[in-house]
């Protein structure tokens, strides 16, 4: 007889001995959890029920259980609030309501994962195939294949989506067998600071080392925070030694994170490193269609094409633009066609460019290469200065659409052919050299942030 059957039998007898209201109030949702070594553990949904059943029916229950199973010598009562908890309700459909909510609060507090990032809505294209395939094999064989797994790529290309989706997928597939924890490196840093301040470093150690799958987002931000790096290093080692899966994302490869300690870099390089680059046109179209489906909206293929054509570099940007386009579709339905959208897109693209001045671009580039404004616009012809200068000229052309003579003027009163040469040279280098284009992405981000 299983313990469930045993308890059903006991309940059947109890029902005869006590009044129906009492039976329903106190014993509904009760459960026999275990009966080892003669101790029957009975779980009740709340403290009121525990007190009552223990005091009033304790003897009767023990008597009934003993006639069924003579090994049982005593009973222990516990409270388990989870018994009455209703079966996990279906997640609310993600409605686009006007009142915005704190999306971050939807994350599961235990794992830190946001259920909205699932693998189904992750669009796979040539730019992220490898990352996707590796992720899937991690889901299948947690901690065994690619460990640590390091993903890098520019902002808004879906790193966070992919690594959270891995976490969610592991949860689903292995039904909670693995304890997954997702943290941004900011959160990790905050935890460490909090622990130091409250003298609870051991708690943090304990908490992070009991994890089966640790996912850390944007690791580049812990660079230079010594205590955090150290704590992370030890956590990393402890988990790695025990074959726990570690997944890390960054906006650049480990080698290129300037202030990260070498021992961490080499640890990261010990596993699998993949990059996510820019999606091609077809993939962008697919992404837009997925996003529209999530919103339960519809746009003609032609218009989707226009948007995919214009937005090339940042998927996150795409969300905002889609919102705008959909808004225009509902509010200016009579005007809505592909030239209209094209015009709209131009406006949006220009808007961002308008806020940018040539000085900002040059300054950002100089900052990136850690040289001074005087040097970059000066006469020096050292290699360390020529490259930044050419990059600045390239960006002035590409981002601000300025004329060559004007660029040459801005960059220290040079000849316009110098600017043309610089533009072509950088353009060529971008096509030839992938690590250089990676660098360019970071520079552009810096420019856009300024």
């Amino acid at each position: 007889m299983t313990i469930d059957e045993l308890w059903q039998k006991a309940l059947g007898e109890l029902e005869l001995q006590i009044s129906r209201p009492n039976f329903l109030t106190w014993l509904k949702n009760s459960r026999l959890v275990d009966s080892k070594e003669g101790d029957a553990i009975i779980a009740l949904p709340n403290h009121f029920a525990k007190e009552w059943v223990e005091a009033k029916y304790g003897k009767i229950i023990l008597g009934i259980l003993r006639t069924e199973d003579s090994c049982i010598r005593k009973t222990t009562y516990i409270v388990d609030g989870a018994i009455t908890r209703k079966p996990e309700p279906q997640r609310e459909p993600e409605k686009i309501e006007k009142q915005l909510v704190f999306n971050e609060l939807k994350s599961d507090p235990e794992s830190g994962l946001n259920p909205k990032y699932n693998i189904k809505s992750f669009v796979v294209g040539s730019h992220n195939e490898l990352a996707y395939a590796a992720s899937m094999s991690i889901v299948d064989a947690v901690g065994q294949k690619y460990n640590p797994f390091f993903i890098y790529g520019g902002t808004g290309l879906g790193k966070t989506h992919l690594i959270q989706a891995i976490g969610n997928e592991i949860h689903l597939k292995h039904k909670g067998k693995y304890k997954v924890k997702y943290v941004s490196s900011e959160k990790f840093t905050n935890d460490v600071i909090w622990a130091i301040r409250n003298k609870r470093v051991d708690d943090i150690k304990q908490a992070y080392r009991n994890i089966d799958v640790l996912i850390v987002d944007d690791i580049q931000f812990i660079g230079g925070k010594e205590k955090t790096e150290e704590e992370f290093f030890h956590t990393f080692n402890a988990l790695h030694e025990n074959n726990k899966q570690i997944i890390i994302s960054s906006d650049r490869p480990p080698r290129a994170i300037p202030i990260l300690e070498d021992r961490l870099k080499s640890r990261f390089e010990g596993g699998m490193i993949v990059d996510i680059s820019f999606p091609d046109y077809e993939t962008r179209v697919a992404i837009i269609k997925v996003k529209l489906q999530e919103r339960q909206e519809n746009l003609e293929d032609e218009i989707v094409g226009v948007i995919a054509q214009k937005i090339q570099r940042n998927i996150r940007e795409l969300e905002g633009i889609l919102n705008k386009v959909v808004f225009h579709k509902t509010h200016h339905a009579h005007l809505f066609n592909s030239p209209y959208v094209e015009k709209l897109m131009e406006d949006i693209v220009q808007q961002t460019a308008q806020n940018l001045t040539p000085a900002q671009v040059i300054k950002a580039v100089a900052e990136f290469y850690e040289i001074s404004m005087v040097e970059i616009t000066g006469r020096g012809r050292k290699k360390e200065i020529v490259e930044p200068r050419q990059v600045a000229m390239f960006l002035l052309r590409e981002m601000l659409n300025m004329s060559y003579p004007f660029i040459a003027e801005k960059m220290g009163k040079r000849d316009h052919t110098t600017a043309i040469y610089a533009y072509d040279k950088i353009n060529h280098a971008l096509n030839e050299n992938p690590s250089f284009s990676q660098k360019m992405v970071m520079i552009k981000e810096l420019v856009n942030k300024s």
Binding site: K50, W52, L100, F102, E104
Partner: protein, 369 residues
Amino acid sequence: MKIVILRNNLKNALDAVSHTLGDASNLPILKNILIKAVGGKIQICSTDLETAVVRGVAGKIIDEGSVTVPFSVFNSVIGNIQNERIDLDSKKMGVLIKTDNYEAVIQGMNPEDFPIIPKVDKKDEFFEINGEILRESLNQVVGAAQISELRPEISGILFDVEPGMIKFAATDSFRLAEKTVYETEFKNNFERGMKFIVPLKPIQEFLRIMDGKTPVRIYAVNGQLMIENGDLELISRLIEGQFPDYNPIIPKNLTTEISLDKNELIGALKLASAFTSKNNEVRLKITKDSKVVEVYSSDSLLGENKYLIPAKISGEPVEVVFNWRFLLDGLRNLESDSANIGLQGDIRPSVIKTTADASFFYIIMPIKS
């Protein structure tokens, strides 16, 4: 049981237990209160099997014992008695109420059948705090909580107790309020930090019946809460689960900062509310280099209005739409006449606080315009 009680004392005690009666669909005795005269103390209890309230009453015990009677009949009899002095005497299963010139017998039930109120082991950890401070702190955050079937872990108030401070927080996922109380204002003998979530209803009930002049002790152990406040005890379950980590939503990169007179903005919102129908939308507009905030609302059927409030403004021009009720809730809870509003554009969370009091902030999500 035989006791003598003054009418007003009894009335107060009855009021305290009046909101935690059960619905009697299963167990009729939950509609009853238990009157206990045991160990030299008179206590009145009620419970709905989620929360229990036990209230002590001053009185004279002649014979110890206990009775349980239906609350509604007992309450209306006591409420209408004119005499100061009331004698209560157990009679079979009921109670005999007697004054100089009045007598009534109310049918009761066997006091043995009244639910046992769970006890919290007092040796366990607790913190003690001034009643008035606790009341004010809870009042500042309780409005942001809402009962949600779907997400039980946010249908209560978070008590985040650390050796140096206690944080109270609540959210309904549209807004979030947090209040901090520092160590000078409470005595803590929790050995280490702990967090627990108290359901909304017992908190509201406690705020209704508590006495601010007496210190409050809060025990939390094994999923159970007990609040002691003078001769009042409130027992409840705690919510299982973890309160979401709300650190990521606290605005860090404000793009626009406004400092203005709180009461003027409250007035403007009330005016604006006349022109918002169901949607409750009010728009705050800040133009470039402006020294005023425009509070605007309109409704196609009702009309429109606009109110200009002088303010100190720094940062980018912005237009952002809020539910005026949410905004008002946040402003009302500021303990100062000036308000600082920090915005991060029109789709990211904004924060309301005051430079005069760093212990409270309120975060609110805009409405998409």
